[in-house]
């Protein structure tokens, strides 16, 4: 390919130039689908309350699936879609930057080297977000394919990486949009519109990759096989018990005796020492005498201390190991509870059907399991 450079003014006179198909249907559909899916991912994490977590997870899975299909297409698609045709080394990127600095347009009809680097960075970013997101889901919420393997501590670390990478990707997206606007003005062609129509002007001196036939059927078979295999692997891994998560129902006697007055709190919501103190003080129990016959109390005490916060690795068990300094037996006084419920108005707690801050199950449909997953939150309307 001849590397001629043409002064800006001589280019892009517009209307008379022939337009050719550069972005194929899959590339365009992929691009705008990923735009939409990433917008949902950012909205469900940065803007909307945590009840949206499941939408975030499903949407994030869709992002990774899109990128996986794009990777297949980058191998088997037509020349403008192929990584081998447009991903270039640092030398080419630097040369491109020099062209920009010097005001020269050495036009690539497909992706230019700088744009290609951005594509690689964005695709890699989404993959890293998918991996760290899955690790966060597994470790902190004990859900998804990695729940069987990851501790809460690992999940928390993954979450921090996930957040940092998400902000980095947000920065990359901003740079990508800025770059597209800049390059559209510089080359006098609406690049965003090209990503809709697929058409770009054919100008003399364009750098054009050698034509390669696309293997669409093979790519589709490979993608579908990949999705099926991944889905099967995820489903298989999700059948394994989650690491450090409680299993089974609450102890029947505990549920009956304690659940008469308040919901039977999952034993993982208080440390063992607090359960012991609570059982020692049933005669003065949060404003009521809740004494139990000794024969009933003893097994309940054993059950509670054997299943206390220290014995599980769920988010709740980890969070509620820290008790209130002034009111250590009251779960709703714990720092974590206070922090996570401070935006909920008193009216919600006082009115039906909640009636009391201690009525976890009024909003958390999985309160009895001790899991308290964000997608199981449903704060009821206040009934007057």
């Amino acid at each position: 390919m001849e590397h001629q450079t043409i002064p800006l003014a001589a280019q892009g006179s517009g209307t008379s130039l022939q337009r050719v198909r550069v972005w194929d249907r899959f590339v365009r559909a992929f691009h705008w689908s990923l735009v939409g899916a990433m917008a949902v991912a950012f909205a469900t994490s940065l803007l909307l309350p945590k009840e949206w977590a499941l939408i975030h997870v499903i949407d994030g899975t869709a992002c990774v699936a899109l990128v996986a299909a794009r990777l297949v297409w980058g191998w088997l698609g037509p020349e403008y879609a192929r990584f081998a045709a447009f991903v270039r080394g640092p030398a080419a990127v630097i040369a491109h930057l020099r062209d920009i600095a010097a005001g020269r347009v050495h036009r690539h009809r497909g992706h230019n080297p700088l744009g290609a680097a951005m594509i690689v960075a964005l695709l890699a970013g989404v993959v890293v977000l998918g991996v760290t997101g899955t690790a966060t889901l597994g470790g902190t919420l004990k859900s998804g394919p990695l729940a069987f393997a990851l501790s809460f501590a690992t999940g928390s670390a993954a979450r921090e990486v996930h957040e940092l990478v998400a902000y980095a990707v947000l920065g990359l997206i901003a740079a990508h949009v800025a770059g597209a606007i800049f390059e559209s003005r510089r080359t006098r062609e609406n690049l965003a519109l090209s990503m809709v129509t697929g058409l770009k002007e054919a100008r003399s001196g364009d750098e054009v990759p050698a034509a390669v036939p696309a293997h669409a059927v093979l790519a589709a078979i490979l993608s579908v096989t990949l999705f099926a295999a991944s889905g099967f692997a995820v489903a298989t891994l999700m059948k394994r018990p989650a690491l450090g998560a409680p299993v089974g129902a609450l102890d029947a006697s505990y549920k009956k005796e304690c659940g008469d007055c308040h919901i039977a709190y999952h034993p993982s919501l208080l440390p063992s020492a607090q359960w012991t103190a609570l059982m020692d003080g049933l005669a003065r129990h949060f404003g009521e005498n809740a004494t139990l016959p000794a024969a009933t109390a003893a097994p309940i005490r054993s059950y509670l201390t054997a299943n206390a916060a220290e014995t599980f690795d769920t988010l709740a068990a980890n969070a509620f190991r820290r008790v209130s300094a002034t009111d250590p037996l009251r779960i709703t006084a714990a720092p974590f509870w206070q922090r996570t419920h401070d935006e909920i108005s008193d009216a919600v707690f006082k009115a039906k059907p909640v009636k009391s801050k201690g009525n976890c199950a009024a909003c958390h449909s999985d309160a009895a399991t001790g899991m308290f997953r964000p997608w199981n939150i449903d704060i009821p309307e206040v009934v007057k």
């Binding site: 008469d260 308040h262 404003g287 059907p353 009636k355 009024a362």
Partner: protein
């Protein structure tokens, strides 16, 4: 004339007994309280549903907990469900709508033990318990 008067008397007496007497399961519990009351006071002549009613609605002092009367949690209508301070439903205490009430002595003693301390700061007397059950069994 005489026969009619006797029959009327029998019917009235029968109705009165039916109105006062509790269903058998509750009566068995009340009988146990009555026996204990008689043992403590040979002059004991029976429980009073009216005294039970007064007790249920009385404002108490000296309680160790936050409620100072029975209806704070049980509600003012014994035939309707009550609600604990933590928002759990309490089944009605009127036997007519909740026949399982007051059929298990251990259960009865557990809740009198807790609630009398919470509301009155002491144990309830046998007479108070018997009056209460007699009242609720007729509701």
């Amino acid at each position: 004339m005489r026969i009619a008067a006797i029959l009327t008397a029998i019917v009235i007496a029968g109705t009165a007994i039916a109105a006062v007497a509790a269903p058998p399961a509750q009566q068995a519990i009340i009988d146990q309280f009555a026996a204990a009351a008689k043992k403590a006071d040979p002059g004991f002549s029976g429980f009073s549903p009216d005294a039970g009613k007064t007790f249920f609605f009385a404002e108490q002092t000296g309680g160790t907990g936050e409620a100072s009367n029975c209806y704070a949690c049980h509600g003012k209508d014994p035939k309707k469900a009550g609600e604990t301070r933590a928002g759990q439903t309490i089944d009605p205490i009127a036997v007519s709508v909740n026949p399982k009430r007051f059929t298990d002595m251990a259960m009865v003693e557990k809740w009198f033990g807790r609630n009398c301390d919470t509301v009155l700061g002491r144990e309830c007397t046998v007479v108070e318990k018997g009056n209460f059950l007699t009242f609720m069994s007729a509701q």
